[in-house]
């Protein structure tokens, strides 16, 4: 049995310790935000935050996550609420500004890759609140194990959503 912390909650997992985190999240913990795209860390559909850093859950064994803090797409609202010190009541009805921006910009087409896109955007904006276009492109192409791929071609909409989210997140700090 392995004990891991996912979205702020301690979870006990029976799966073998070499099981990739992706299958633990999707099958054991019913957190289906992360998607199976390649199993090779080449696309980013399965991304989660591990202690705040974007990792590919498809190649991250359960054993590597023990004692660390995992955030999935489902956990983004609570992550934001905790960072902002929102009440539990407010936290329950909020979305992360990144998710809100994704909706306002109508970013997804099929949407299958967007889990990883929003996770990567969270990592970026937590470290770089006012990214330049070059920094945004670098985050989604060269910063991780591979570029984050979108076959529908929503990259322009992703850039616009990141810019919108950055603005909103800064605004909320004022």
């Amino acid at each position: 049995m392995t004990e891991i912390v996912v979205n702020g909650v301690k979870r006990e997992v029976q799966a073998p310790s070499d099981t990739p985190l992706l299958y633990v999240l999707r099958n054991d913990l019913e957190l289906t935000g992360p998607q199976f795209g390649c199993g090779l860390a080449q696309c980013g559909a399965c991304s989660v935050l591990l202690n705040g850093t974007e990792v590919r859950s498809c190649i991250t064994p359960l054993s590597a996550v023990k004692g660390k803090d995992v955030t999935t797409l489902e956990g983004l609202p609570a992550r934001w609420a905790a960072q902002k010190g929102l009440s539990a009541a407010d936290a329950a009805k909020t979305l992360h500004p990144i998710q809100a921006a994704w909706i306002e910009e109508q970013t997804p087409l099929c949407g299958f890759c967007q889990n990883g896109m929003m996770i990567k955007a969270t990592e970026l904006l937590e470290h770089t609140p006012s990214p330049t276009l070059t920094q945004i492109k670098a985050a989604f192409t060269t910063s991780g194990p591979s570029p984050h791929l979108c076959r529908c071609g929503s990259y322009t909409a992703i850039i616009q959503a990141v810019q919108r989210a950055a603005h909103a997140m800064k605004g909320s700090q004022a």
Binding site: T32, G33, C113, S146, L149, R151, Y155, A157
Partner: protein, 771 residues
């Protein structure tokens, strides 16, 4: 855990005609028990409530057989059009049920969504509108002609009643006239001509309503096809043959000590491994695959010899030749031309390459019914394919569709890839089975978009006008809707598309309407042949082909549009002005003028005229292309920079002008066009299926690269709304076809070099530059 609340989705409990259809409004914790007691009863398509339900609280539910594949059309345009015809607000339509075979009335697939599919629900809305007016007239005692409707309230003669109150407890005396076969590719068609709302009175069409399903996807509340879990469900993997023509010699032994809960299932050439957990299924299948023996096969030309094979070896003589209506006499006009061009254009195989490999869950039940949970574009056609495979009546099969990774036409004839394999494995073990393909499976065992070659001969007269144009297109058969698992298991399937050309004549049909009407002599031909390797493959597989966006037209528009740019250069003319000179249709002229203005096109006759804009080792160029498809006119300008040393092309800007007639939802259309542009840039610069004599060797994103955010150009879009046209053109994603010829035209502009083959990889461009 809270129940997943999705404002507009197919997953809510639905009341219809008094019967409760149990839907998918399960809580997070209930995902593991998504086994529904779905009825195999089908909806009666002649009943209006099978299409549109108006509830007492004035909310409305609509049903369509077409599923959403990332265009959002059924959640935006369909709602807008139905709201318009009914006379209700967009927001009044709170639920859209789409795609499921037992819960939607008309079948058909996710293609031709606006021109050929949407009229079904639109006509039903118009019929219902009239029936409601009749009912209101009766109830209010006011003549129908004096009644008007606004936001679902019927008013007249100083009285009013809401739709909800009108239908409350009453049945509309209305029968929807339908024809066709629901199990066919195209499904049912609603007949008749009910009075439609005049376009001049539209207030909902033309506005940018948001796509409601985006909320559930972004907030992790959508149930995607890969999320479906059934009680006792096993995870499955299929070990596909070593080559596209291999037969099984022996499945590898399973190490039961390591994988105590796994099972191997063999049926003819189909080898599957199932296990209670996904990780055990994965590891066990890898272990079994390593020991599985297959016969060898070498029946493909290999990608290096592909175009030579198509030119010299393929049989183009058996299939009838498609021709467009000839104009003038090219035989006399060509030799009389002042300057002539004779050239061959080559396009490689490209993959649909969805971000998620195909998957499906199948539940073959003891009572003989089969439930399939998947992400197909054509659930009814899949249902009949599965029934055919098992030689059972179609009414024993239910297909439920869910959100999935977009795959751009690959399943528009029913099969997304894994459904039949899941059914075969589920039948073998007597439990539900979820088959998930790997990335490698998806690149090597799915269909692809056909390779093609085209020969052009054209002549330009002494006045610099196009005097003669002849093109011959050669493309292997497309639209292979066979179930690959059924083929491997030796079970019945429909035949492979043969050289005669399949559905729509998509292989050897004319797909790219001519738009330069001022040309005096034009002749166009299209030749077909069998899929490469298929007829010689011992298992009848080979390189299977399928629609990928703009199918066939992508292959035909690239050679034509690049040839027209070359003709302009022969004539010493600006390629955009040259196109305008040869166009007579005001909508072709309209998109060209629009793209010229929006892109900041610099009119010039030769590339040297703007070479001063070049810096250092980079040369800049501009190119243009035009297309007419499914009621929509397109023009594209590409601005590129070419590295003269490495041959690397950077697409700096793509400008697209689009005239679809009536623009239904401007912001959604723009997002679709942006996506099409990116796919077009990707196909032009990067994409080519690598294959050897035995099969596809592209296996992952490293050896089948697609565009990343770094490759994305600035994208400018000009939408031309023409309500006076009165029709909805479609194919918003068709932008993918225009980038190639515009970029190749820009390369010619920048360097004087003509690249007649895609993709424009640096080494190819570098070789052209050195030549």
């Amino acid at each position: 855990m809270s129940t997943k609340q999705i404002p507009v989705s197919r997953r809510d409990f639905v009341k219809t005609g008094g019967a409760l259809f149990v839907g998918f409004a399960f809580a997070d914790t209930e995902k593991a028990s998504a086994a529904v007691t779905a009825t195999v009863d089908k909806l009666d398509p002649s009943s209006p409530t099978s299409w549109i339900e108006i509830h007492a609280d004035n909310t409305i539910l609509i049903r369509t057989g077409k599923s959403d594949f990332g265009q959002g059309t059924v959640f935006t345009a369909y709602r807008q059009i139905v709201a318009e015809e009914l006379g209700v607000s967009f927001e009044a339509i709170t639920n859209v049920i789409s795609g499921d075979t037992d819960r939607t009335p008309d079948g058909g697939g996710t293609f031709d969504l606006l021109m050929h599919s949407m009229p079904n629900i639109r006509k039903v809305a118009a019929y219902v509108h009239q029936a409601l007016l009749d009912l209101a007239s009766q109830q209010l005692g006011v003549p129908k002609a004096q009644l008007s409707v606004k936001e679902g309230i019927v008013s007249g003669g100083g009285k009013s009643v809401s739709y909800g109150d009108l239908v409350n407890g009453r049945k509309l005396s209305l029968t929807i006239p339908v024809k066709g076969d629901i199990n066919s590719m195209f499904g049912l068609t609603v007949e008749g001509d009910p009075p439609l709302k005049p376009v001049s009175e539209y207030s909902i069409v033309g506005k940018s309503f948001p796509n409601s399903v985006i909320v559930s996807k972004v907030s992790a509340k959508e149930t995607w096809a890969p999320d479906v879990r059934l009680p006792e469900m096993l995870h499955g993997r299929v070990i596909h043959p070593k080559t596209l023509g291999s037969k099984l010699i022996a499945a590898g032994p399973l190490d039961k000590a390591k994988f105590p809960n796994a099972q191997v299932i063999v049926k003819a050439n189909l080898v599957g491994v199932v296990a209670p957990t996904e990780w055990e299924a994965i590891k066990a299948s890898q272990q079994v695959a390593a020991g599985t023996k297959w016969t060898e096969w070498k029946g493909l030309p290999g990608d290096q010899r592909l175009f030579q094979y198509l030119k010299e070896d393929a049989d183009w003589k058996t299939a009838p030749v498609a021709k467009s209506k000839p104009k003038g006499d090219v035989a006399t006009a060509l030799p009389a031309s002042a300057k002539t061009l004779s050239a061959t254009y080559q396009l490689p195989y490209v993959k649909h390459a969805p971000i998620g490999p195909t998957m499906a869950v199948a539940d073959v039940r003891a009572d003989g019914t089969i439930y399939i949970y998947t992400h197909t574009q054509n659930a009814q056609a899949l249902r009949s394919g599965i029934a055919h495979m098992l030689s059972i009546p179609a009414d024993r099969v239910v297909v439920r569709t869910f959100a999935g990774p977009g795959h751009y036409g690959r399943s528009n004839g029913g099969n997304a890839g894994a459904e039949d394999e899941a059914v075969i494995l589920s039948q073998a073990v007597g439990k539900p089975v979820r088959v998930q393909w790997t990335r490698q499976d998806d690149l090597q065992w799915s269909t692809q978009s056909s390779a093609a070659i085209s020969d052009v001969q054209l002549g330009v007269d002494a006045n610099g006008r196009l005097a003669s144009y002849e093109i011959s297109h050669y493309m292997p058969a497309m639209q292979d809707d066979r179930l690959v698992g059924a083929i491997l298991a030796g079970l019945p399937t429909i035949p492979a598309p043969n050289e005669i050309g399949s559905l729509f004549g998509i292989a050897n049909g004319m797909q790219d309407p001519w738009v330069y009407d001022a040309t005096p002599a034009v002749a166009e031909f299209a030749y077909g042949t069998s899929q490469v390797g298929q007829t010689s493959s011992p298992i009848n597989v080979g390189l299977r082909d399928h629609s990928l966006r703009t199918p066939g037209q992508y292959q035909q528009n690239f050679p034509r549009e690049l040839a027209i740019t070359e003709a302009a250069f022969l004539a010493g003319a600006d390629p955009l002005a040259f196109r305008l000179q040869h166009a007579t249709d005001k909508r072709v002229i309209g998109v060209l003028e629009s793209v010229r203005e929006t892109s900041g096109w610099q009119t010039h006759k030769t590339r040297s005229a703007h070479i001063s804009g070049n810096m250092g080792n980079l040369r800049h160029g501009q190119g243009v292309s035009v297309m007419f498809r499914s009621g929509t006119f397109w023009a594209c300008v590409a601005n590129i920079a070419v590295d003269m040393t490495t041959g690397a092309i950077k697409v700096e800007k793509i400008t697209m002008a689009c005239d679809p007639g009536i623009v239904i939802n401007p912001s959604q259309l723009k997002r679709q066009i942006e996506g099409g542009v990116v796919m077009g840039v990707s196909m032009t610069l990067l994409e080519e299926v690598r294959f050897n004599e035995s099969g596809v060797v592209s296996s992952d994103w490293r050896n089948y690269p697609i565009a990343t955010m770094a490759d994305v150009p600035e994208i400018k879009i000009a939408l031309i709304n023409r309500p006076e046209i009165g029709s909805y053109g479609q194919g918003s994603e068709a932008a993918n076809a225009l980038a190639g010829p515009a970029i190749a035209g820009a390369l010619l502009d920048a360097t004087g070099k003509i690249a007649r083959r895609l993709p424009l990889k640096p080494e190819y461009v570098q070789a052209l530059l050195k030549a």
